[in-house]
Amino acid sequence: MASAPEHGWAIAQRIEEMSKEALQIGQGSLYPALQRLEQKGWLDSNWQTTDQNRRAKYYRLTATGRRALSTETDSWRRYVSTVELILGTP
């Protein structure tokens, strides 16, 4: 989604792939999360037709969302490295 608009199912597939199925949460829980991001103005959505000519709702990262993504990624990385420091990982 960071690169191009995607619909919910595709996003769910990507998460499953990227996490190598380590995340075993119901796919349905994606939708409340998407809606919350949209309400924050981080995502924008519209209905489009898919390659197979089906109507689907596509989500796109907004400028604010992009900025938020980098901020959140930064802070997550800082958090992880701090935890690693404390745990004394080699």
Binding site: Q27, G28, Y31, K40, G41, K57
Partner: protein, 882 residues
């Protein structure tokens, strides 16, 4: 937050989406459904591609997704401004629910309407009478001041005492004096009597109210001996008699036969003692200190309290007691104007009614709670299904509470219609029944109260059922196949509520019963005269035309003679105090032989009346001893007096009073000879013990303001017209006398307790009805729930009679417990109303036993119908039904 323009646009877009989803919740919902359906479709297709069978593909897709409805619910909760949305949804559910069971809704709404309506009506009375501030500036700083005689009763002030208080006090900014008078107003349409206040010029500044038109009195207009002939009109009189013409200021009008210059008109909302006009009052420093006739009102200095003013004025009264023998032993009482205007009795009645109506509201709540509980039990299956489908517990509670708040809101609306209707009736009640009652309105405070009452009542009624219902165990309910039975705990809860209702009903019944007992005793009080076939005709002669005593005497003689000629009239006599009008004249009375011991203060104080010969016969007062006044008792002859039985025993215990002599007022004049003793009368207050009364005769003292008492031996058609014509035949300029049946006057004298008793009785009846409905509901429900069990019992050979007695017995046990609790509560609560009761103990056993019996009978009736239904249960159908 640090936002650039683009970021701002994104945020706004996010918000717009929320609002759009608020406006069109169904659109957003359809989008969500479509989106999730698309997701599942894609997942199924992916699974199919991986080689699963169609059924397995669908199953796996669902498992991967998780509970569709749960996520939908979560999205909904987050969508838009979640709670507003949820409320909208709850409201839709509620409306649907009400439409589905209109009977339940009607009963609940009517019950709440009764409770909220009654409570708001009484609240508006309490508001008008007790809470609303008086229409004066800073009314909290105003105090009423009365003198207190050596026996400790409140008394009016005398002219010189008032002047001393006014000039020597250190705690008041100003002190005004006033008294009420009735004056005839002539020359503006029909002659009429107006209530006029004679007031010192300081009254209006003390109250802090100025005229709307013209000016009020100047200090030079109330100089001793020469009050200016000026008058200030009330707004109402100005409208009624002068058509609201502002040119009336500066004109002269005829009052008590004299010319008065109109100098001003008071504003519309200004009311003080219901006076219609005000004249200057000029207190005379050399008047008799014993001549008490003024009322006083003062404004406290900044920082001063009523207690300090009291101490300050008592100091002056004590100094006067040393200086002047006539003031010996006299004191003074200072109280806030609000306390004086609304007596403790009225205040207490209002608060008693309010307490009673709160109990009634509680009962209404309990009833609705019971209804909701029964309904929740019936809806258990529905609720369980919704929980199983993902409705959160909080969500269910919220929905159930929304339902009860909607019921409460509708109840409040219906109740307020009732309030508007009831206030119309209350405003139409005879004036003077309860002070300020005619000002009662449906104002913002009343609306606020109704809203609050509705909210508290509906939440109070709804919270228990909502908690109970939301605790429903999904598994067991659904497993039972939705069999509608209630848990043990729920059953207990409902029974507890019925007990509470019975207890509250007992309290209201006892309260109402006590007031009715007290009222019955009041109506049976013997006033000492016969009120049937007797009419009172108050008359007032202008002192300008009737300057001499013989003129006054001649007029009343002539009128009595003319009235006596009307066919059907047996006799007509006159007295200077209209019975039950609240007027009273009191003075010192001293037996001749004790005059030396009591040189100026007098032996005792007794009421005094001036009556014409034949008055006792007209009024039906019993002559016990001696003779009535006669035409031979003339001013030039021996001064004569008659006394009441109580006065006779107080003055000469155990002796024959006839022929004894007494002093009326000071002991320096001539003593009067007692010629007769009459029975005791109660013509001021029915509830008080008869006061000692002294009677003088019109043949020796003429009084310009007398009330004719006319006795007939049958109902006489057009009597009032004939009496009026008789009066006008003597003097066509006299104001139209208000002729009233004495029985009506007497009934009016106890109108206030009658009003309280009627309302309390109404509440008690409503409470009884609610208790019956509650008992009936619980027992009927128990029968429905236990149909199976009863069927088994009957199948095993239980007699129908045994089934009936089992159920009725249960009802009686609940009632019994409720009665017990209620009686204990009533003992505690009715102590508070003791001062409102006449010769009735707050623990009157007959009332208590009566209340208990009424409830037992009611419980039997309420229990019998469901019980006999149970006895007719057919075991086969009962066992098959579930």
């Amino acid at each position: 937050m640090n936002l650039n323009r683009e970021g701002f646009v994104d945020l706004i877009r996010g918000w717009l989406k929320r609002f759009r989803s608020l406006l069109g919740p169904t659109n957003a919902d359809r989008d969500m459904t479509d989106e999730m359906a698309f997701h599942l479709q894609m997942e199924v297709e992916k699974n199919l591609r991986e080689g699963m069978s169609p059924a397995e593909a669908r199953r796996t897709a669902r498992l991967a997704f998780g509970g569709v409805e749960r996520f939908k619910e979560e999205v909904r909760a987050d969508r838009g401004i979640g709670w507003i949305n949820a409320i909208g949804q709850d409201l839709r559910h509620t409306v649907r629910g009400i439409r589905r069971s209109p009977g339940f809704a009607a009963v609940a709404i009517l019950t709440l309407a009764l409770g909220i309506g009654a409570a708001s009506t009484i609240f508006s009375v309490v508001d008008a009478v007790v809470i609303a501030p008086m229409p004066f500036e800073d009314p909290d700083r105003l105090v009423s001041i009365e003198e207190v005689n050596p026996e400790g009763s409140d008394f009016s002030a005398s002219d010189p005492n008032y002047l001393d208080f006014r000039d020597r006090n250190q705690s008041l900014v100003s002190l005004a004096a006033f008294r009420l008078d009735r004056l005839s107003l002539t020359g503006a349409g029909e002659p009429r009597l107006v209530r006029a206040g004679a007031v010192t010029h300081s009254l209006f500044p003390t109250l802090g109210v100025g005229p709307a038109l013209g000016r009020s009195f100047r200090p030079d207009e109330d100089q001793p001996g020469a009050p200016a002939k000026v008058v200030v009109l009330s707004f109402d009189l100005w409208q009624r008699a002068f058509g609201g013409d502002s040119a009336v200021v500066g004109r002269t009008i005829q009052l008590k036969g004299q010319e008065f210059l109109v100098i001003g008109v008071m504003p519309a909302g200004f009311r003080f003692l219901n006076a219609e006009a005000w004249l200057p009052l000029a207190p005379n420093p050399s008047a008799d200190r014993d001549d008490h006739w003024l009322s006083m009102i003062g404004r406290l200095r900044p920082g001063a309290t009523a207690e300090r003013a009291q101490a300050d004025l008592v100091r002056i009264a004590t100094q006067n007691g040393v200086t002047y023998p006539a003031s010996k032993g006299w004191s003074v009482r200072v109280q806030s104007l609000a306390e004086w205007a609304v007596s403790a009795n009225v205040r207490q009645s209002a608060l008693l009614l309010f307490a009673a109506v709160v109990v009634l509201l509680l009962m209404a709540c309990t009833n609705v709670t019971n209804l909701l509980l029964a309904r929740a039990t019936a809806r258990r299956t529905e609720l369980s299904v919704r929980m199983a489908l993902g409705a959160g517990q909080g969500r269910l509670i919220r929905q159930l509470l929304t339902e009860s708040v909607v019921l409460g809101g509708l109840g409040a609306l219906a109740g307020l219609i009732g309030v508007a209707w009831a206030l119309g009736i209350i405003r139409g009640l005879p004036a003077g029944l309860v002070p300020r009652l005619d000002t009662v309105v449906l104002n913002g405070r009343v609306l606020g109260f109704a809203t609050l009452a509705a909210l508290l009542a509906s939440l109070g009624a709804g919270v228990l059922p909502a908690l109970q219902a939301s605790k429903a165990d999904v598994h067991s309910t659904l497993k039972q196949g939705g069999r509608s039975g209630s848990s043990f705990g729920q059953h207990r809860l409902r029974e507890g509520l019925v007990i509470a209702q019975v207890a509250l009903a007992v309290i209201l019944l006892v309260g109402g019963g006590l007031m009715i007992r007290s009222l019955t005793r009041l109506t049976q009080v013997d006033p000492g005269f016969r009120t049937e076939y007797a009419w009172t005709v108050p008359l007032q002669l202008p002192t300008t035309q009737y300057r001499e005593e013989w003129q006054v005497a001649r007029f009343y003689n002539a009128v009595a003679g003319r009235i006596g000629l009307i066919p059907g009239v047996r006799s007509a006599g006159s007295i200077n105090v209209t019975p039950f009008s609240g007027t009273n004249f009191v003075n010192d009375v001293t037996p001749e032989e004790r005059a030396a011991e009591h040189p100026s203060a007098g032996y005792l104080q007794a009421g005094w009346r001036i009556v014409s010969p034949g008055y006792f016969e007209s009024a039906g007062v019993q002559l016990l001893k001696g003779r009535d006044f006669g035409d031979g008792d003339i001013a030039e002859g021996v001064g004569v007096a008659m006394i009441s039985k109580t006065l006779a025993t107080r003055l000469w215990p155990g002796q024959d009073p006839i022929g004894k002599r007494l002093f009326w007022g000071g002991t320096d004049g001539k003593p009067r000879t007692v010629i007769g003793v009459v029975g005791d009368i109660r013509d001021v207050a029915l509830e008080a013990e008869p006061a000692p009364v002294l009677f003088l005769t019109t043949r020796q003292i003429a009084w310009p303001e007398m009330t004719m008492v006319v006795r007939t031996d049958r109902a006489v058609p057009n009597l009032e017209d004939q009496i009026r014509r008789a009066v006008w035949a003597e003097d066509a300029n006299l104001p139209v006398p208000t002729i009233r049946a004495m029985a009506a006057t007497r009934a009016q004298a106890i109108a206030a307790p009658r009003f309280t008793a009627a309302i309390l009785a109404g509440f008690a009846a409503a409470a009884l009805l609610l208790a019956v409905v509650g008992l009936y509901g619980v027992l009927s429900f128990a029968v429905v729930e236990r149909t199976r069990e009863i069927g088994v019992r009957i199948a095993l050979g239980a007699e129908p009679a045994a089934v009936v007695s089992m159920l009725v017995g249960r009802g009686l046990v609940l009632t019994g417990i409720g009665i017990g609790i209620g009686l204990i509560g009533a003992i505690g609560l009715t102590r508070l109303m003791q001062s409102l009761l006449y010769q009735t103990a707050g623990t009157d056993p007959i009332t208590f036993v009566g209340a208990a019996l009424v409830l037992i009978v009611v419980a039997l009736m309420a229990g019998f119908a469901p019980a006999s239904r149970a006895a007719r249960v057919d075991p086969i159908t009962a066992l098959r039904s579930e």
